[in-house]
Symmetry: C2
Subunit: 571 residues, 2 copies
């Protein structure tokens, strides 16, 4: 590819609307163009990157006996009604009517389509297990697309679906796929991706893992133990409390706290710490606006995913009305209205000498002893893990909280979809059974952007060679010099004949422009042909990651470059 | 691939809802599954075929300096409003609002997206020419999807867009692309595809060609000259008339034709031939319901595309009301109401002694002489060419009308989109100019189905090796025979190690079931390992197209099969 002919503009300035580096560099480098919120077109360099990622995905899915198929983007609503998700998913599922008035959806995931495709095929146990996958465009109408290709509305995804006749078989395959994912991220150049236990969310099922690239710009909070191998998404991380009573219980006492409605105000006013308070966090269920009052120790925050999983329905922060019976700012567990569900977090279990609301405007209560004053209370885990919390696995105070980008996920779905969509098979005894499913996703564009987040400098991406748009970038500095031009032309052709992917810059521009464009394209090896180098009988060779800076004689340059590329590819 | 593990069902019976053979065979063979009207999922065999087709498309587009990009499926309405097509295209363009209420469309073609992508890049003449292409999912909400993958709503298409600074440059590139298309169809196994001049329809522009596979199930009518190389779509084929007066004109005479309203009835009643009548065909303009009365010789039919091109707007067959001034069944050119547009087809030019309507219920007129009675009439070409019509190129009565499937098209678009979307560049003199565009499309699924239409028998597709799902189909007849199983297993592995794509049937089923499944998969070479063959020291090798039936000794079978495949691939 001659750089002169490469369609797309490259910029010096960081676009003002780009928050994360991968977005800024991929716009500056002519990889992508904004069309609408969360919707982009791609130029050739990005297309070459994503094609290589797709090929890695395909090879690794084929290697675990996956069969590539394809599902429609536009699907009839009926199959989503069968699974129940037509109603249960929010506005991110695009719904509209086709010209005949039939309701259709845009595929944001394809569990329903997968079951639809194999429902007739999988009627006998001897067809199992099998896995089908596709690499296809999806659309999820995100409320807040952001961070360039990290969170978009339209994206290409590899999504795989496996079908099994036993939980053991699913688990075996799940492990196989986990290993395939490790190989994928390693081959794509980010072996540092870690897998963590996660919450299954709208996908259903129980066991699931997310593959996370740790980076400060990540949207996910990840809990990692510094002492053992425990890792989990914040949503899935159990919060362990090791409270021990250190003082005898004092008597209950109602105290005036006029105008002190927040935990901070009350603590400061009464001279106690947040940990010595019992805080009320109030939600309403989305389905019926019923109030849910969750009591939690004042120094912890609520993990809403844990709450919605417990309730089995979505919630939103409550609007406390005059008639609901709750006294905003002064809510406490004793004497609270019957008009709500009351829940207690584990952080309160056995705790005494707490300050809490008196359910009366302007008053709190001191001396709450959970055991003495609320003997029937049940405690559950609704709290977010904090830095230094206790690891649920090794028991040490060694948890840390990091940020990460989710670059892949795997789910054990169980029979959620097969039951709902009535996919059955006859087992070897002639009994009707529901197949057990797993599903496995990797977003192609997000992976490309994540790799860029992990490997870039101020000047551009540093693409790992396996997914780089080209392998070698030849710069003919002073291509108006006949000798330079002739040698560089020849080098370009000779490398291509050897199967090397080359981008060739023979424009009549300064070395500075050439090199900054090369930095933006992020090609692993740069070869500079120049009048000075020609005089010295050499070409300069440098790697984009600055690990290598060398030269080769004009005679042997082709072979040396080919050897460098092959070595890098086989690493 | 072990056939036993191949996901998808194969059937013996032709599905009752399949009209064309490719559809029936691709359903029977487990290639695809219906999800909704014009919307299908694909199983692995079809996916392998379309991937190979896509790779051919990619190579040939790259070979003519195309750069692969990608455009969104979901696009903001605004860019379609810029081009004017948001309003001008009918219901086949899906329009809906996203969650924020912004109007969006589903891409059915991507001229707008192409201009949007390169509008900033292409601001100077020295960036030209360039071509970008994508291979992407599209959705066109067809009123009547049919014929399996031939006419669907959701499809994958290779669409390419070239940009030029002169008509000459566009024409050169257009020719280059024409040749690339010939190579594509040839490589895909249907070199018999012909290109024909076509009408540009909603794409705009003037010169365009369609690539047609001639087959009786085709939806297009194609006019071909038996004497020269003239070929055109019916919509674009000029109708030439060589009428010579053979009789002197008789006087005009009003005759009673009570209840005779059609040309057939009137001709029979008056004892004249259809060619001796002047027939009125009445339309209304879609935009304002204004009446258009087109007079044409009774033995010709109207080509509505020619009419709409002439009028510059769409029309529909008229509803003749009591008040419109037209006398249904008795319309003639003389004394017709002023309340309509009157047009005359070339077939009437200079003709005399015609029967036509008297614009009075129950009456026709005899003796119409176009020259004498309608001296001011202008004549245009609105008629459909017929079998035996005059070739516009060589002038001989040698036109035939065939049916064909359009498997590709190329258009010279001119500046329709760049002007509408205000894409400009500065030419070498510093003047602002609009780039000139071409666009070039091939539908991947339709091409696969067309190849199947061209090459199949009653038992299944006969895939050309370049796009076949696998190259060799190994049947181990009586795989329960240890010797058979061992040899066949080894053959399967050895062929794969040599890079051959093999599907391997070692199921415990009858030879009949094996062979009918093999026929449905349509793999070019079938190799049969059986107890009888083992005894004879051979394997049987047969080609799916029945051209080859041979055997190879057990020792040399691998090499012989590899040689057969390589030879076939290099043909």
């Amino acid at each position: 590819m001659k750089l002169e002919k490469l369609v797309g503009e490259r910029f010096k300035e960081r676009p003002s609307d780009c928050v994360v580096d991968s977005h800024a560099l991929m716009v500056r480098g002519g990889y992508m163009k904004y069309m609408a919120s969360g919707i982009f077109s791609s130029f050739l360099p990005l297309k070459r990157i994503t094609r290589k990622i797709e090929q890695i995905l395909r090879e690794e899915m084929d290697a675990i006996d996956g069969q590539e198929v394809s599902f429609p983007v536009v699907m009839p609503a009926i199959i989503w009604q069968e699974s129940g998700r037509y109603d249960s998913i929010g506005k991110e599922l695009v719904r509209f009517n086709d010209r005949s008035g039939s309701p259709v959806v845009l595929g944001m995931t394809h569990e329903e389509a997968a079951v639809h495709l194999v429902r007739e095929y999988g009627q006998s146990y001897n067809k199992y297990p099998f896995m089908i996958y596709q690499i296809q465009t999806k659309f999820r109408d995100e409320a807040r697309p952001r961070s360039g290709l990290i969170r978009v509305r339209e994206f290409t995804m590899k999504d795989a679906y496996s079908f099994h006749t036993s939980q053991e078989d699913l688990e075996q395959y799940y492990d196989k796929c986990h290993k395939a994912y490790e190989r994928i991220f390693s081959r794509a150049g980010i072996p540092e991706v870690i897998s963590i236990a996660s919450d299954s969310g709208m996908m259903g099922g129980s066991v699931s893992h997310e593959f996370m690239l740790l980076t400060d710009i990540g949207e996910d909070s990840i809990v990692i133990c510094n002492e053992c191998d425990y890792r989990a998404n914040m949503e899935a991380a159990a919060n362990i409390v090791d409270y021990v009573r250190t003082a005898p219980s004092i008597d209950l006492e109602k105290v005036a706290t006029p105008g002190k409605e927040t935990i901070e105000e009350v603590s400061a006013f009464l001279g106690v710490e947040a940990k010595d308070t019992c805080k009320a966090v109030v939600y309403q269920q989305n389905k019926d606006d019923h109030y849910v009052v969750l009591f939690i120790r004042g120094d912890y925050d609520v993990n809403e995913t844990k709450l919605t999983n417990y309730l089995g329905c979505d919630v939103h922060p409550a609007t406390i009305t005059d008639t609901c019976g709750l006294v905003a700012g002064f809510i406490g567990p004793m004497g609270i209205t019957d008009n709500c569900t009351v829940l207690y977090d584990n952080t309160l279990k056995g705790v005494n000498n707490l300050v809490t609301g008196a359910n009366e405007v302007g008053y709190h209560v001191k001396g709450l002893d959970m055991d003495r004053d609320l003997p029937g209370a049940e405690f559950h885990d609704f709290a977010k893990v904090r830095e230094g919390s206790i690891c649920p696995k090794c028991g040490k105070h060694a948890l840390t909280v990091s940020r990460g980008i989710e670059v892949g996920n795997i789910f054990q779905l169980g029979t959620k979809y097969t039951k709902a969509m009535n996919m059955t098979y006859l087992d070897s005894d002639g009994n009707t059974q529901y197949p057990i499913m797993g599903c496995y996703g990797i977003g192609v564009g997000r992976l490309a952007a994540s790799i860029c987040e992990a490997y870039h400098d101020d000047y551009g991406p540093i693409w790992p060679i396996a997914i780089a748009p080209w392998q070698v970038h030849v710069c003919a500095v002073r291509a108006d010099d006949a000798e330079v031009k002739a040698y560089a032309d020849n080098l370009y052709n000779a490398l291509q004949e050897k199967g090397i992917e080359v981008v060739y810059d023979d424009r009549n521009v300064s070395a500075g422009v050439m090199f900054s464009d090369a930095d933006l394209l992020g090609v692993p090896f740069r070869v500079v042909v120049s009048p000075r180098n020609m005089k010295g009988g050499i070409v300069e060779i440098a790697s984009r990651d600055k690990a290598l800076k060398t030269s080769a004689s004009l005679d042997t340059a082709v072979d040396e470059i080919v050897a460098l590329v092959k070595t890098a590819l086989n690493k």
